[in-house]
Amino acid sequence: MSHDDRAGQGAGAALSAPAPLLEIDNVTLQYKTSEHLVTATKQVSFKVYPSDRYILLGPSGCGKSTLLKAIGGYMAPVHGAIRLKGQTITQPGPDRMMVFQEFDQLLPWKTVRQNVEFALHASGRLKGREAAERAAYYIEKVGLIKFIDSYPHTLSGGMKQRVSIARGMAMEPDVLLMDEPFAALDALTRRKMQDELLRLWDDTRFTVLFVTHSIEEAIRIGNRILLLSPHPGQVKAELNSVPVHEMGTASQAQLETRINDMLFAH
């Protein structure tokens, strides 16, 4: 199993439309504050199919995190519906593992190792030695094996974010929701993390919803890219990414320019 499997994306399944895994149907999301009502996204509709690497791309404040939170089950849409396998989402759960944008998403009272293990225990995924092995494996993958027994507050911003990524991946969930997970990482580490994510996808073919603000990253990681308009977020377009074997060729550059133009044009 290699990265090149992804090259044939769509070829095998083009015959009939499968049932969408996740259906965002005309969803409007709002926040009620004591002063006013903020509409974060407006009438957003899109479908995520099994094994999609689905990217949400849009300017700061357009409602990407809010959308992810709604899919995670933390917010109910004021209008429209979000369905997972045909069922309306009513509450959070370990079937949709979330990597948040915030640095404070690690449990401060658990070490790096315990943070990853606890996610496995609490969600009933794995227990005992299996959980320990799985945790160590992914912590090693994000390059933090030296810090495996450190508490989160002794880690740098990027290191914390990597622990969250390890935790998310270790859960090997059906749907992984990632909110700008690589934002705090330097170019080299980021590249390594991207590769790790793709390798894991190759292995388990999970579905991932990935928020990013890097067009390059979107193309590299995703197979399908949703472009959102500025605040309040509305769908601008849904594009296919380039297959892996065309990465680094003109078609990648072309797509990058196209997305750039679509986002930056008013």
Binding site: M1, G8, G10, A13, P50, D52, T204, K236, N240
Partner: protein, 296 residues
């Protein structure tokens, strides 16, 4: 390590055509879901609380009647009746006013001292030690331990009661405030220092608002214990001339076996507690920590 099955052909994402939408597309009408009657009633905070209060009152009434021992535990209706005539005759209001005045002075002084002590505590290590030591020593001491000093320093009467009140407010508020200060995120503290704030100005501009949830809890606990102490203290320190507070009122009526009046006095304390919680503290919370997103 990974759980994929390598035998079957791997699932491929479903390939579908791209699309580009016009952002200036016509609005579809959005209809907000209506709430059920129960839901919309349940949303009313005052209604929920009223229901709780009514249930408590009913339990009291039933238990009181079943017990049928008005000398020891009058029923709710007896108490309300006694309360009503106490209010009507003006005596309860008068006594409550005396108590409230003393209480507020003691409470205010306690808070001021707590502010001072925690500022000292947060500014240096020996300050922290001082607060910790004083608190762990004096906080468990009952009022009678203070009595001799209170009598020597303030004599019989309001001065001593205030002294005892300060003792009951100070440590609880200081502990909560100091705990809150110490939990303030390092980043916020660094931001304050970055502006050149130090000592009192750092405490006032950064630590107090950042620790406000803890401070409010401290204020609530302190408020409650001030009441408890006041009622007990008024009993110990007696009255000099006529003007006793609620504590004395309770004591007097207890001696006369006017148990309904005793409970009317306590009922007043409960009412004041409910008022302070639901109007004063709730307003403060709404205007501060809720608005700032510090508490949910």
């Amino acid at each position: 390590m990974t759980t994929s099955n390598t035998v079957t052909t791997p699932i491929e994402p479903y390939a579908r055509p791209e699309f580009v939408l016009d952002t200036q597309r016509p609005e579809t009408t959005e209809v907000l879901r209506p709430l059920s009657l129960f839901e919309s009633l349940y949303r009313l905070g005052w209604l929920r609380k009223t229901v709780i209060l009514v249930v408590l009152a009913v339990i009291w009434e039933i238990y009181g009647r079943w017990l049928n021992n008005p000398l020891l535990f009058p029923s709710f209706s007896d108490t309300v009746h006694a309360f009503g005539s106490g209010i009507y005759s003006g005596v309860l209001l008068e006594r409550a006013a005396v108590s409230l005045q003393t209480l507020l002075i003691g409470y205010g002084l306690g808070i001021a001292l707590a502010a001072l002590l925690t500022t000292v505590a947060i500014s240096s290590r020996i300050g922290t030690d001082l607060l910790e030591t004083l608190t762990s020593m004096f906080n468990p001491l009952p009022a009678i331990a203070l009595l001799p000093l209170a009598l020597i320093w303030f004599g019989l009467g309001t001065g001593s009661i205030i002294f005892v009140l300060v003792h009951s407010v100070l440590w609880a508020v200081a502990l909560n405030t100091h705990g809150g200060f110490r939990s303030v995120s390092t980043t916020l503290r660094m931001v304050g220092q970055n502006y050149g704030l130090k000592g009192f100005s750092l405490v006032g501009a950064i630590l107090i608002p950042a620790a406000f949830p803890s401070i409010l809890t401290g204020l609530k606990v302190g408020w409650a214990f001030a009441w408890r102490t006041l009622i007990a203290a008024e009993l110990v320190f007696g009255v000099s001339s006529g003007a006793g507070g609620l504590g004395w009122y309770i004591f007097e009526n207890r001696n006369q076996l006017e148990t309904a009046n005793v409970f009317a006095g306590l009922f007043f304390v409960i009412l004041i507690g409910l008022f302070v919680e639901n109007f004063i503290f709730a307003t403060i919370e709404k205007r501060t920590i809720h608005r700032w997103g510090m508490q949910h």
